[in-house]
C-alpha cells in the first residue's frame, strides 16, 4: 500500500523534483564564474594600458608578456591540480631550477640533451613521489614537506654547480628550438604551454581520474567514505606537480641556453597567487586551469604594465602582493555570502 503511494508520487514529478540545469541557469552560472570577472579585469587593463603606453599593444610586448608567463604557466597547471586535491607545494621554484641543473650537468658530461632532459624530468617526478610518500604514508603536512624539499633542492642546485650558472653554449639548435624557436609567428614555448593547458583543462573537467581529485580535495573523509583511494590521489597530484616543474625547467634551459642554480626564487608565490586569483581554494576542492591561467595572465599584464610605466621594480612586489590579498578577500566575502544564501 505504502509502496504504491510512493510510486504515485514518482509518476508526477512536481516543480521541486530534480531536473537538469536549463539554459538560463547556464547563463547565470557563466556570469557568476570567476573566469568571467578575470577576463573583464584583464580587458580593462588592456584598454587602459593601450592609452597609457604606445608600446603596450605592440606585437613585441604581447609576445614578451606571453613568454613571461608561458613556462611558469606549466607549473601553475601542476600547482592548481595539487591545490584542488588539498595540497600545496612550496618547492616548485627550487625543483624547476634543479631540473635545469640536472639536465645541464648531464649535458656537460656528454649525454645528449634529449636524454638529459628526460632523466631530469624523471628525477623531478621522483622528488614529487618522495614528497607524496612523506605526505600520504608518513602523514606529514604538504607545507612542511615541500618547505624542506624547497631548501634541499636549492642546496642541491648550488652544490651541483658550485653556485655558478652553467653555460650550455654547445646545445644543438634543434634542442634550443624548444625554448627559442617559433612555429610560424607563434613561439614554440607558447605552443607547448597551450597544449599542456588545453590537455589538463579538459582532463580536469571531464575525466574520472581528475574528478576524484575534486572529491578528495572537497572533503577527504567523504571521498574515502565513497571508496576513493584518497592517498593515491594526493600522491599522484603531488608527483604530477613536481613532474611539470621538471618539464618547465627543461624548457627554461632550452630558452636560456644555460642552467641557473638560483633560478625561480620566489616562483612559488607567483604560481600559488595565480592559482588562487584564478579561483583555486587553499582548502581544496575548487579551482580551474583556465582560471589559474587567467590569474597568471593578470599578474603578468600588471608586471609588464608597471615596467612600461617606469614604476620601480621594488614597487612591483608590493603591488603583486596587494592584488593577491584583494583577490582572496573578495573571494572570502563572496563565499560567505553564498553560504548565507544557502
Amino acid at each position: 500500500m505504502r509502496v504504491e503511494m510512493h510510486m504515485d508520487k514518482l509518476a508526477e514529478p512536481s516543480a521541486e523534483t530534480p531536473k537538469p540545469a536549463g539554459i538560463a541557469e547556464a547563463v547565470k552560472r557563466l556570469l557568476g564564474m570567476r573566469e568571467t570577472g578575470l577576463i573583464a579585469i584583464i580587458l580593462v587593463l588592456f584598454v587602459v594600458m593601450s592609452f597609457a603606453s604606445p608600446y603596450f599593444l605592440t606585437w613585441v610586448n604581447m609576445r614578451a608578456m606571453a613568454m613571461a608567463f608561458a613556462v611558469e604557466g606549466i607549473v601553475v597547471v601542476g600547482m592548481t591540480i595539487l591545490l584542488i586535491s588539498g595540497g600545496i607545494d612550496l618547492s616548485v621554484g627550487s625543483v624547476t631550477a634543479l631540473a635545469m641543473v640536472i639536465a645541464g650537468l648531464l649535458f656537460l658530461a656528454g649525454v645528449d640533451p634529449w636524454t638529459a632532459s628526460a632523466v631530469s624530468i624523471l628525477a623531478c617526478t621522483g622528488i614529487g613521489a618522495v614528497m607524496g610518500f612523506f605526505v600520504t604514508r608518513i602523514g606529514l603536512h604538504h607545507f612542511i614537506v615541500s618547505l624542506a624539499v624547497m631548501v634541499i633542492a636549492r642546496g642541491a642546485c648550488l652544490l651541483g654547480t658550485g653556485g655558478r650558472p652553467l653555460g650550455l653554449y654547445t646545445l644543438p639548435p634543434e634542442f634550443k628550438f624548444i625554448g627559442q624557436g617559433a612555429i610560424g609567428v607563434i613561439p614554440v614555448v607558447i605552443v607547448i604551454f597551450l597544449v599542456v593547458v588545453v590537455a589538463f583543462d579538459f582532463m580536469l573537467r571531464r575525466t574520472t581520474l581528475f574528478r576524484k581529485v575534486f572529491y578528495t580535495g572537497s572533503n577527504e573523509k567523504a571521498a574515502a567514505y565513497s571508496g576513493i583511494r584518497t592517498k593515491k590521489v594526493v600522491f599522484l597530484t603531488t608527483t604530477l606537480c613536481s613532474a611539470l616543474c621538471g618539464v618547465a625547467g627543461v624548457i627554461y634551459m632550452a630558452r636560456f641556453g644555460s642552467a641557473q642554480p638560483t633560478f625561480g626564487i620566489g616562483m612559488e608565490l607567483n604560481v600559488i597567487a595565480a592559482a588562487v586569483i584564478g579561483g583555486a581554494s587553499l582548502k581544496g576542492g575548487s579551482g580551474t586551469i583556465f582560471g589559474a591561467i587567467l590569474g597568471a595572465i593578470l599578474l603578468s599584464v600588471v608586471s609588464s604594465s608597471l615596467a612600461l610605466l617606469d614604476v620601480s621594480v621594488y614597487w612591483q612586489d608590493i603591488i603583486r602582493g596587494s592584488i593577491l590579498l584583494t583577490a582572496v578577500t573578495v573571494d572570502h566575502f563572496i563565499n560567505k555570502k553564498r553560504q548565507q544564501a544557502a
Binding site: 537538469p20 581520474l209 572529491y215 567523504a222 571521498a223 571508496g227 576542492g285
Partner: protein, 506 residues
C-alpha cells in the same frame, strides 16, 4: 506559591532565511527547579537554548533575567549573567589537560599575565570531586567520550552559574554515570541553581525533573508539572499526532525469509569490539543499539574496511568475501552511510549530481574515463525522483539543500551502485520529522526489494519503530537481541548497560 522566574522568555521569534525556527515562544524558569525541555529534532529547542546563551539573537521578543529585560549579545554576556551551557557536542581542546579545559573560562577572562597552574588545579579538583575520579592532569584526548562529557559538565560548574543548560548530557553516559549526574543536578537545584534539561528519554524526565515544557515545529505547546502529566501525554504533545503513523509497516509474517544476505562471524578488532556474529536476512531491517562508544559505528566501518584492522569472516549470499579496502566492499555491493553527514557524507561545495556519482564515477563515464555529464545528470534525476528529493536543479551545490534532502542525496549516492547491503549510521540525525518518515519508508521499500538494511541509531524509538530485529551492543560485544514485542526501550537499555546494573547490585 508564586515565585518570580529567574529567566523569562517573552514572545521570542527567530527565522533563518525562509525557515521560521521559533514562533512567538514563551518560557519561564523558576529558581531551583529542574525544567525539562522536550521536543523532536527541529522543534526549536536548540535555537531557543542558543538564544538564551547569546549565540543567536532573537528577531522579536524579550528576555527577562531576574525580572529585568536583558539583551544577551554573546555567550560572554550569558556567562556574566550566570548562564552556563553544556552542549551536546563535546567542545574541549583535546591536547590540553583536563584541569586547563575546566578552567578555560576563568583563563579567558583572567587579567594575570602568567598562568596560575596551582589555582587551576585546585579549581578543577573541586569541580571534579563530586562528578568523577578523572585526573585533572590527564589529557582530554585520552579520555572516553563519557568522561569528556563529565569534564564539560565540570567546566560549566566552575562558572558559578545560576542557570545551567544541559543538552542531552546522558546520550554518551552509562547508566551509572547518568545516575551520578542526576544526583548532582538535584544538589545544585537544592542550592537554588535552575537547570534546563534537554532529553529525549521520557524516563529521565519523569524521574528527575520538576516541570516539563514541550515544543513542536518552533512553537511553544505547554508547560506542566511532571506530577500532573504522563509520558504518553508528553510524547503526544511533542509529535502532535498519533505516533504509529511515523513508521512504515513492519515485515509481515509471510514476508519473513530464512535467506541470509550477509553473514558476519567472529568479527574482532583488538580494542573496540570482539566476536561479533550476526545474520542479516532478506527483507528485514536489522537495527544495532548501544551506548555511544560501545563500538556500533566501528563494527559497520570494520565490515566495510573503512577503518581498523579487523579479523573474522564475512559471507555475502553464502560466499565468503575478501575485502581489503572500502573500494572492494563497494564493488561487492556493501556500502556504508556515514553518521556525520556534513563531515563525511556529502561534498557540500559540489553539485548534487556529482555527489550522487561519487561512489562510482566510472558508471557515468565512457570507457576512456571521460565523465559524461548527461549520464551523470540522468542518474541524479532518476535516483533523486525515486527518493522524493526536493531541489532546484541537480547542478546546485549540495550545501543549498536542507538536512533531510542532503541525507537523500547521500542515500542516492549509496543506491547508485545497486547495493546488496546498506549500513546506515544514524540515518535521520538532524533531519526534520517529515523527511525522517520519508527516509524510513524508503528504507522499508528497499528492504522489500531485497536489499539488506542495517540501521545504527541512538534514538531507541527509531530503532523500535523501524526495525524488525535489534541487536544490542555493550562495550564491543553483542549482549543480546530483541524482536517483536520484546523490542522496548527498557529491554534495550538494560542490555546496553547490563554490566553497570550488575556492579550496582553486587
Amino acid at each position: 506559591m508564586e515565585q518570580t522566574p529567574i529567566l523569562k522568555i517573552d514572545k521570542v521569534s527567530k527565522s533563518f532565511g525562509p525557515v521560521q525556527a521559533l514562533r512567538s515562544v514563551d518560557f519561564d524558569l523558576l529558581p531551583g527547579e529542574i525544567h525539562a525541555i522536550a521536543g523532536e529534532n527541529g522543534a526549536g529547542k536548540s535555537t531557543l537554548m542558543n538564544i538564551i546563551d547569546g549565540i543567536l539573537q532573537p528577531d522579536e521578543g524579550r528576555i527577562f533575567f531576574r525580572g529585568e529585560a536583558v539583551e544577551i549579545a554573546s555567550p560572554a554576556v550569558a556567562q556574566r549573567l550566570g548562564i552556563g551551557f553544556v552542549h551536546q557536542e563535546i567542545a574541549l581542546c583535546p591536547d590540553v589537560s583536563v584541569a586547563e579545559n575546566i578552567c578555560m573560562g576563568a583563563t579567558a577572562t583572567s587579567r594575570s599575565l602568567l598562568m596560575d597552574y596551582k589555582d587551576i588545579d585546585t579549581r578543577a579538583r573541586a569541580a571534579l570531586r563530586e562528578l568523577s575520579d578523572i585526573s585533572p592532569a590527564a589529557l582530554v584526548r585520552d579520555l572516553s567520550i563519557s568522561q569528556q562529557q563529565l569534564v564539560e559538565i565540570a567546566k560549566a560548574l566552575t562558572l558559578d552559574c545560576q542557570v545551567l543548560i544541559l543538552d542531552e548530557p546522558t546520550a554518551a553516559l552509562t547508566e551509572k554515570e547518568a545516575q551520578i549526574l542526576f544526583g548532582i543536578m538535584r544538589r545544585l537545584a537544592d542550592r537554588g541553581i535552575s537547570i534546563i534539561y534537554i532529553s529525549h528519554r521520557m524516563v529521565e524526565i519523569f524521574e528527575n525533573c520538576d516541570r516539563v515544557s514541550v515544543f513542536r515545529d518552533g512553537q511553544y505547546i505547554t508547560t506542566r508539572d511532571v506530577a500532573d502529566i504522563t509520558p504518553s501525554d508528553v510524547v503526544a504533545a511533542m509529535v502532535g499526532r498519533v505516533i504509529d503513523t511515523l513508521y512504515p509497516d513492519k515485515q509481515a509474517a509471510h514476508e519473513r525469509s530464512d535467506e541470509v544476505i550477509l553473514e558476519i562471524r567472529d568479527l574482532t578488532e583488538a580494542a573496540r569490539f570482539r566476536n561479533v556474529s550476526f545474520d542479516l536476512r532478506r527483507g528485514e531491517i536489522l537495527g544495532l543499539a548501544g551506548l555511544i562508544g560501545a563500538g556500533r559505528s566501528e563494527i559497520a566501518r570494520g565490515i566495510c574496511r573503512l577503518e581498523g584492522k579487523v579479523t573474522g569472516e564475512v559471507r555475502l549470499n553464502g560466499k565468503p568475501i575478501d575485502i581489503r579496502h572500502y573500494r572492494d566492499s563497494i564493488d561487492q555491493g556493501i556500502v556504508y552511510l556515514s553518521e556525520d553527514r556534513k563531515g563525511d557524507g556529502v561534498f557540500l561545495d559540489m553539485s548534487i549530481a556529482s555527489n550522487i556519482a561519487a561512489l562510482a564515477v566510472e558508471q557515468v563515464a565512457t570507457r576512456l574515463g571521460i565523465v559524461d555529464d548527461s549520464r551523470e545528470a540522468d542518474q541524479a534525476v532518476r535516483l533523486g525522483q525515486s527518493l522524493g528529493l526536493k531541489c532546484g536543479h541537480i547542478r546546485q551545490p549540495a550545501s543549498a539543500l536542507s538536512g533531510g534532502n542532503q541525507q537523500k542525496v547521500a542515500i542516492a549516492k549509496m543506491l547508485s551502485v545497486g547495493p546488496k547491503v546498506i549500513f546506515l549510521d544514524e540515518p535521520t540525525r538532524g533531519v526534520d520529522v517529515g523527511a525522517k518518515a520519508e527516509i524510513h519508508r524508503i528504507l522499508r521499500d528497499l528492504a522489500r526489494q531485497g536489499v539488506g538494511i542495517f540501521v545504527i541509531s541512538s534514538e531507541l524509538p527509531e530503532l523500535i519503530g523501524l526495525c524488525d530485529r535489534v541487536l544490542v551492543l555493550r562495550e564491543g560485544e553483542i549482549s543480546g537481541e530483541v524482536t517483536g514485542d520484546a523490542m522496548t526501550e527498557e529491554n534495550i537499555m538494560y542490555l546496553a548497560s547490563i554490566e553497570q546494573e550488575r556492579e550496582q547490585t553486587a
